[in-house]
């Protein structure tokens, strides 16, 4: 994946460049808003990572400018401003996701990968399938190996989100934001308990595990051996 990082702090930028390369992605760095805009406008990137506060031209204006020119490249906004209102402003300017500094690299990576593989098809699909696990978004039914699994409404949304991003790492924060719509950090890992509950419902008695824990990052729903 080709990523453009627009970040003025040299250390952070270099660290991102290196860490992204280790994860198998190539990253270009732009140190200010103007340079970032020019690169993003001409280059062919899969994802843009844009710091909100940049010299010369601020991050939100870069994103808004790109959107005005018709660029659809997914954008992840990085910011030290973490209030809900700041987030809303960031997403309104054309960002697709918003991550507050300081962040864990695993969180950033998971979000970039989700953004890049984001496909419009998943929005219109009414049935998600992973292996023999099946989720019908219209009838709100989940089945495994043809057998119905009874889920609470929140469990259903949790499974829906995991299946929509099957094969991708989904972090706890992403789950909290997308399934519960909370943007704060609960002190205890409440999400883990929910996931393990869901796991026992979809795996107990079915043999092959589908919901995997990715150490230090989050969870991934996939058929073992398949990518």
């Amino acid at each position: 994946m080709k990523i453009l990082v627009i970040e003025d702090d040299r250390d952070s930028a270099r660290y991102l460049e290196k860490a992204l390369a280790e994860s198998g992605h190539s990253a270009d760095i732009a140190a200010d808003g103007d340079a970032g805009f020019t690169l993003a406008d001409s280059g062919n990137y899969d994802v843009l990572v844009v710091d909100r506060m940049l010299p010369r031209r601020d991050g939100l204006s870069v994103v808004a400018g790109l959107r005005a020119k018709g660029h659809r490249t997914p954008v992840l906004i990085l910011s030290a401003l973490g209030e809900v209102d700041d987030r809303v402003t960031g997403l309104r300017a054309g960002g697709d996701d918003y991550l507050t500094k300081p962040y864990a690299f695993s969180e950033l990576l998971a979000r970039i990968e989700v953004l890049q593989r984001r496909n419009g098809a998943a929005d219109v699909e009414t049935i998600y399938r992973v292996g023999d696990l099946e989720l019908d978004r219209l009838s709100h039914m989940a089945k495994r190996a043809g057998q119905e699994i009874v889920l609470q409404p929140r469990e259903f949304r949790l499974l829906e989100f995991l299946m929509r991003h099957a094969g991708q790492v989904v972090t706890r924060t992403m789950l909290l934001e997308n399934v519960w719509e909370y943007h704060f950090d609960p002190q205890t890992n409440v999400i883990d308990v929910h996931v393990s509950r869901l796991r026992s419902k979809i795996e107990k008695g079915f043999g092959v595990p589908l919901l995997h824990t990715v150490r230090g990052a989050g969870y991934m729903l996939k058929v073992p051996g398949k990518t």
Binding site: G82, E83, V84, D85, D86, P102, A104, R154, W180, Y182, H183, F184, D185, P186, Q187, T188, V190, V193, H194, R197
Partner: protein, 464 residues
């Protein structure tokens, strides 16, 4: 003294009263001038009418009794005290009869009305009175004798004099009064303002606890001072809050930072295996995450307490918010072997911020689960209800609770009561809850149902 006077003169009150005085004087002058002019006109008309009547009368006497009769009549009439002016002369100007002692000869020469009031001397017995002013009508008999009938103008002149004198007196007194009022009012205002200035200078010089003087009279100066005092109070609260935050940051962030640094130093100093290094680093990441959490909480509390958070309030259902958080924690409670129950009587509208309230409830329920699990058969009860019309969420647990004398202190920042030192947490949960409730114009109350802690979040009445 001069400077003080100038200061009074330049006060608004003084300027206004000077302006009023000027306007009043102009109006009073105009009124008095108009009145005297009107009165003089009426008196003059009256005088002229009297004279004409007299002349007609004398003409009749002359027609009836001839010259001797006329001279006699004039002579008789002119001796009556306060009489009109009479004079009869032959064509050479020699006075034959009358009560005029001395008169400018030219007046007799022109027949008809004298154009201007003229000066004359009058007989009064033997004595000659000082000069009088009069208006007169002169007419010529067929034998060219001249007769003058006039009326003394002393009366209207005295009237005008009286009016002018009283006007001058009244205006002078008014002017003096205004000057005095001006001086005292101005001096009073100036004294109060000087007091306020002096107090604010003391405050600026560093006496932040100083306040502006309030006399207790409840006048506009008092109201102004009271408002400014409230503002000063708010500022000093914010200032203290800021100082407290920086003290707390210094204390509570430096401690974990020192621990973090020590951990790194210790890992570096000893020769260890790669897995030991890895463990040290993981540990350090965990510690930094905790630091970030604490830092975020401090920032948030400060922002909320300062009252300039950008978070907006909207109409929300309190039952739904509490229900969602309970649902989030339910599996965790179950894992801890605690019974988490939720009670509500249906939707309850409040003005609130979903994110902040969810976070607050999440902190409180998280704590409740932690402390309840220290007890036998841990139980946490969350209920949404209305108390005297005010929406309330109550979270109660059956843990060790907080002893009553410590409850007030428990909401202060970073206070971790003795028996809670062992449990993880930043010690900011309750102070965050307090700040959030303040933003919602409600309050947080700590209590107990005999056992454990009972946290009540009381909201302002949603209807208002």
């Amino acid at each position: 003294m001069m400077g003080r006077f100038r200061a009074i003169v330049s006060t608004t009150a003084a300027r206004l009263s000077a302006l009023y005085l000027l306007l009043f004087t102009i109006c009073a002058l105009a009124l008095v001038l108009y009145m005297t002019a009107q009165a003089a006109k009426i008196l003059r008309t009256q005088t002229e009418t009297t004279i004409i009547e007299e002349v007609q009368n004398l003409s009749q006497v002359y027609a009836r009794a001839g010259l001797p009769g006329l001279v006699r009549t004039i002579d008789r009439r002119s001796r009556v005290p306060g009489a009109n002016l009479y004079l009869i002369s032959d064509k050479a100007g020699v006075v034959l009869a009358g009560n005029v002692a001395e008169i400018d000869g030219s007046i007799l020469r022109n027949e008809g009305w004298t154009r201007e009031p003229f000066e004359y001397m009058r007989f009064s017995g033997e004595a000659v009175e000082p000069a009088h002013h009069a208006l007169a009508h002169v007419f010529v008999l067929p034998n060219e004798m001249r007769i003058l009938v006039g009326r003394d103008l002393g009366e209207p002149e005295r009237f005008r004099e009286i009016v002018q004198r009283s006007l001058t007196l009244a205006l002078t007194m008014m002017g003096l009064g205004a000057l005095m009022i001006w001086y005292f009012v101005g001096r009073h205002a100036l004294k109060r303002i000087d007091g306020v200035s002096a107090a604010s200078q003391r405050i600026m010089a560093g006496d932040l606890s100083g306040r502006l003087p309030v006399t207790g009279s409840g006048d506009e100066f008092d109201r102004l001072s009271e408002n400014l005092n409230m503002m000063l109070g708010k500022i000093s609260n914010l200032n203290e809050g800021l100082k407290q935050v920086s003290d707390n940051i210094a204390h509570d962030l430096k401690t974990p930072l020192t621990r973090l640094r020590n951990r790194a130093e210790a890992a570096l100093a000893s020769r260890q295996s790669a897995s030991d290094y890895k463990e040290a680093l993981t540990d350090m990441i965990g510690q930094s995450d905790q630091l970030i959490r604490t830092f975020n909480a401090i920032l948030m509390i400060s922002r909320l307490e300062a009252g300039y958070s950008s978070e907006r309030l909207e109409r929300l259902d309190l039952s739904e918010i509490a229900g969602d958080v309970v649902e989030l924690y339910e599996p965790l409670a179950e894992e801890a072997g605690a019974a988490l129950s939720f009670e509500t009587k249906g939707p309850l509208a409040i003005q609130g911020n979903r994110e902040l309230l969810s976070q607050t409830l999440s902190n409180i329920i998280d704590n409740a689960i932690k402390y309840a699990s220290l007890a036998d058969g841990p139980a946490i009860k969350v209920s949404v209800l209305q108390e005297n019309g005010a929406p309330v969420v109550i979270v109660s647990d059956n843990g060790p609770g907080i002893p009553e004398p410590d409850r007030e202190r428990a909401t202060e920042r970073f206070v971790r009561l003795e028996n809670s030192r062992s449990a993880p947490g930043s010690g900011l949960g309750l102070s965050l809850a307090k700040a959030v409730m303040k933003l919602h114009k409600g309050e947080m109350r700590l209590g107990s149902d005999g056992q454990g802690l009972k946290v009540s979040l009381v909201f302002a009445d949603a209807g208002s």
